[in-house]
């Protein structure tokens, strides 16, 4: 018999994941026509980022469901072991790539037309996935993610300094930085059991608001 909080937790997880997956897919499909007409690289990476977010949140929901069903505190404790290990590795890879694609959608213009820089990000995402798999302590996961957050925010701020939209306000960059912060908190929440339990609901609400804000901005422009 499932624990008493099972149904409530599952319903919250289901609604949270469902709303973010729907937002991400609406952004992906809502920009399809603009991309098909323009073949613009920035749009391609922007769309891929939200496709990856949709995959990540679907995966995240399935992982949560498995953890609650098998009553396992961490993915790595799931049996069979290969299932937990692969789930964590894939989750980390897709989740990192979602954010890297979003960064790359803004900075790609600084590289040459046929630059292979995006492969560096794939490499970094694979490295991060491996680190969280082989060094299982919560400390390592926290430190890795804090470094990643710093890396992402620094790239973003450098890009913002040279940005054309500077005059129009901080809105977009601020929303993206919040997205990165809550993305990191989501990862920590999933990988380090009980660490953020008290503020979990706040993390969910904040993440939902950011995705809804980006969706609103997309719909305003695509109609």
């Amino acid at each position: 018999m499932p624990p008493p909080f099972y149904n409530i937790t599952m319903n919250i997880e289901l609604i949270y994941s469902f709303v973010i997956i729907i937002c991400s897919l609406m952004i992906y499909f809502g920009t399809k026509e603009l991309y098909e007409l323009s073949s613009y690289k920035g749009l391609k990476y922007f769309r891929l980022s939200f496709l990856f977010f949709a995959i990540v949140y679907l995966f995240r929901f399935l992982i949560r469901l498995s953890l609650l069903t098998y009553n396992a505190p961490r993915m790595l404790d799931m049996t069979p072991r290969i299932l937990g290990h692969s789930a964590q590795f894939i989750f980390m890879y897709f989740s990192s790539m979602a954010v890297f694609y979003l960064i790359y959608s803004i900075i790609w213009k600084k590289f040459k037309e046929n630059s292979k820089t995006i492969y560096l990000f794939h490499g970094l995402a694979l490295l991060l996935s491996s680190i969280t798999l082989f060094f299982r302590g919560p400390g390592i996961i926290l430190i890795t993610n804090v470094f990643l957050l710093l890396f992402v925010v620094i790239i973003f701020l450098l890009s913002y300094k040279k940005s054309k939209i500077k005059k129009r306000g901080l809105n977009l960059y601020f929303a993206y930085i919040l997205l990165f912060i809550f993305w990191i908190l989501n990862i920590i929440d999933l990988l380090v059991p009980n660490f953020l339990e008290l503020i979990q609901l706040f993390i969910y609400l904040a993440s939902l608001s950011i995705f809804l804000l980006i969706l609103y901005k997309v719909l305003k422009k695509t109609g």
């Binding site: 920009t31 026509e33 603009l34 007409l37 323009s38 073949s39 613009y40 920035g42 749009l43 990476y45 922007f46 959608s105 803004i106 890009s159 940005s163 054309k164 939209i165 977009l172 901005k217 997309v218 422009k221 695509t222 109609g223």
Partner: protein
């Protein structure tokens, strides 16, 4: 003079064709596009490949016209540019 971006050049070429009642010969199109012959040829092939324009040959006449996708691009051009600006892509 500000350098035109790729999307702007495509829009300009398509607009010229549209304004000539969707039928123009290659030479006047090259002249009005303000591009070098080499760059024009690159764009011309790209536009055919992407299905924005069609190269029609009838008897001894040859002219260029927009496809449905070409008209759609012109219709959506402003929206594309606004989106790119809004998200700093």
């Amino acid at each position: 003079m500000v350098k035109r971006g790729k999307l702007e050049i495509i829009k300009d070429i398509l607009k010229i064709i549209k304004e000539k009642h969707n039928s123009i010969k290659v030479t006047p199109l090259l002249r009005q596009s303000n591009l070098s012959s080499k760059r024009f040829t690159e764009y011309f092939h790209e536009l055919i490949e992407k299905g924005f324009i069609k190269d029609i040959k009838e008897k001894d006449k040859r002219y260029i016209s927009l496809t449905e996708k070409g008209f759609k691009f012109l219709e959506k051009y402003e929206a594309i540019i606004e989106f790119i600006d809004e998200f700093d892509l």
